[in-house]
């Protein structure tokens, strides 16, 4: 009984820790975004508060807390206040299903470096993050403002349009790995690039065994889709400032606005985490299998338990590095590409990405059929 209680407690604490990790990553990301933008535009950015301006966001958070409470008189009170809280849930639930590092065996206990292991991982993540449209619609309607409503409408139409290309590029991934489980996918991407083609074993020792080399087209489609899903430039039509001011959150300010921000950055992190898991080996270290990594640490420390801990720490650091790389790309793209027009956005989603994603599925299926047959 003691063991059960211990495990339940550990799991609850772990879930909260993963959630807080996601929340505390937001100030860092905002700082990265502002400093990065400044760097790209040849400015300084926030550099006064603390070293490199790192404490700026703490100051901002305190400022947000002390802002005046505001409720637009035409709004619907319950929906208006529910929307920012609801915006947090889908991103958190999805992020907790992404494996962040190799599971840690300590004595008789097995600690997973992820919120919870879901055996239908992809389907779960897709299903949960599909609920993100409600926060936007609630905010748009609850504000009782036409700009909000129009922004919400555009945002949700955009999100659902790109969900098709996203879902189809994932079909290619499922074909490739033959599983829904994110942990199994990571396990399949260990070591150097090797696969069997009609009975011949092919080994390319100078490339890691990552999904991106099997699914280059799927990678591009998935990457573009997560930009659209998280409403980032060049797909930030929902808040096209010239026509809609700030889109669905025009009536929000202070901490409510910050909660929307956390949700949006959470979606970016979920997208980047999935990208790393599907196409870049997840928490795996390139070229090396986890078993070989453990052996290296074992030879070095002569302590099996310590080697386990080191493997988990190294894989966690690797995953964080990949995640940071993807997130930096979000910032880089923001200042590289201009915004689309709405018809261009819809054309890109329905007439370009959807057919290419279909082609990707057919090509992958045919290749696997030929390679296995």
């Amino acid at each position: 009984m003691g063991k059960d209680v211990f495990e339940v407690t550990i799991n609850c604490i772990k879930l909260i820790v993963v959630f807080l990790m996601m929340v505390q990553a937001v100030p860092i990301l905002v700082w990265l975004e502002r400093r990065g933008s400044a760097f790209i535009q040849n400015r300084f950015g926030p550099n006064r508060v603390g070293p490199l301006g790192l404490v700026q966001l703490l100051a901002d958070a305190v400022k947000f807390l002390f802002k005046e409470e505001f409720f637009p008189e035409n709004g619907t009170k319950f929906l208006y206040y529910a929307a920012p809280v609801v915006a947090l849930v889908p991103a958190t639930l999805a992020y907790c299903a992404i494996p962040l590092g190799h599971p840690l065996q300590y004595g008789e206990y097995l600690f997973r470096l992820q919120g919870f292991d879901v055996n239908v991982g992809i389907v779960y993540v897709l299903g949960v993050s599909g609920l993100a449209a409600y926060a936007i619609l609630l905010a748009g309607f609850g504000s009782g403002n036409k700009y909000s409503l129009l922004g919400a409408l555009r945002a949700s139409a955009q999100i659902i349009s790109y969900e098709l290309a996203l879902g189809l590029s994932i079909v290619g991934i499922i074909l490739l790995y033959g599983t829904f489980n994110l942990n199994e996918m990571v396990a399949m991407q260990q070591g150097p690039l090797s696969f069997s083609f009609r009975g011949h074993e092919i080994l390319v020792s100078w490339l890691p065994n990552w999904g991106i080399f099997y699914q280059p087209l799927g990678f591009v489609l998935f990457f573009a889709s997560i930009f659209a899903e998280s409403n980032r430039l060049p797909f930030d039509l929902a808040e096209g400032e010239a026509e809609l001011v700030a889109g669905f959150h025009v009536e929000y300010g202070g901490f409510k606005m910050l909660l929307f921000f956390i949700g949006e950055y959470g979606h970016m992190m979920v997208g980047s985490g999935l990208l790393a898991t599907f196409y870049m080996g997840g928490y795996g270290i390139p070229y090396i299998t986890n078993q070989a990594l453990w052996q290296t640490f074992m030879d070095w420390t002569q302590d099996g338990q310590l080697a386990h801990i080191l493997v988990s720490a190294a894989t966690f650091a690797m995953f964080s590095f990949k995640l940071a790389l993807c997130l930096w790309f979000f910032v880089q793209v923001r200042w590289t590409l201009p915004r689309f027009r709405y018809d261009q956005l819809m054309d890109l989603g329905w007439k370009t990405m959807l057919p290419w994603a279909l082609f990707n599925v057919i090509a992958t299926a045919l290749f696997i059929f030929v390679a296995h047959g």
């Binding site: 929906l79 879901v118 055996n119 239908v120 389907v123 779960y124 897709l126 299903g127 949960v128 599909g130 609920l131 449209a133 409600y134 619609l137 609630l138 748009g140 309607f141 409503l149 919400a152 409408l153 949700s156 659902i160 969900e163 829904f180």
Partner: protein, 174 residues
């Protein structure tokens, strides 16, 4: 297991109370949002049965797609007159009584059937890990015809939607 039972009761309470809210509340927006809640908790109930893939599909299709459309449409129209028209009058009362009768019949039928069929169904539940695989294998062997027909049905739905959106003379601007 006791924890499974607790989860089931929580989810059953959630889905039933949300379902009741759907029919009891007059504001169509809240009604639609309660329906979303029902869909989500039914997905949770699927999980307690070990049907993980089905739960995911329930979330993606019903909660993530169908209900988004419903909520979107309801938010854009002021339905005061329609609400008034459908809550008053003789016809509405007759419909209400009919629905009550159907509900009573459904409840009675479920109670009678569940008392001696549940064990049989329990035995048929596949081991959780293989369920999605078993689903795929059944879908593409035994139910292949239904699957292909479904593809055509969905095509017809898409064509019908486009055709409806073309028809002029409604209240919308084209």
């Amino acid at each position: 297991m006791i924890s499974d039972a607790i989860l089931f009761w929580i989810l059953a309470f959630l889905s039933l109370s949300a379902g009741l809210t759907v029919v009891m509340i007059a504001n169509p927006i809240y009604s639609a949002l309660a329906l979303v809640m029902t869909m989500v908790s039914v997905a949770g109930l699927f999980v307690t049965l070990g049907a993980y893939f089905l739960a995911g599909v329930q979330l993606i299709v019903y909660a993530g797609a169908v209900m988004v459309l419903f909520v979107m449409v309801l938010m854009l129209f002021d339905l005061k007159n329609e609400v008034y028209a459908f809550t008053q009058g003789l016809l509405t009362n007759v419909v209400k009584l009919g629905c009550l009768g159907l509900l009573a019949g459904l409840l009675a039928g479920t109670l009678v059937l569940s008392s001696y069929q549940s064990q049989e169904i329990q035995d048929k539940v596949v081991a959780a890990a293989d369920q999605t695989k078993a689903l795929g294998q059944l879908l593409f062997t035994q139910y292949l015809f239904g699957f292909e027909v479904l593809g055509i049905l969905l095509l017809i739905v898409a064509i019908g939607a486009v055709a409806l959106s073309r028809s002029r003379g409604g209240t919308h601007h084209v």
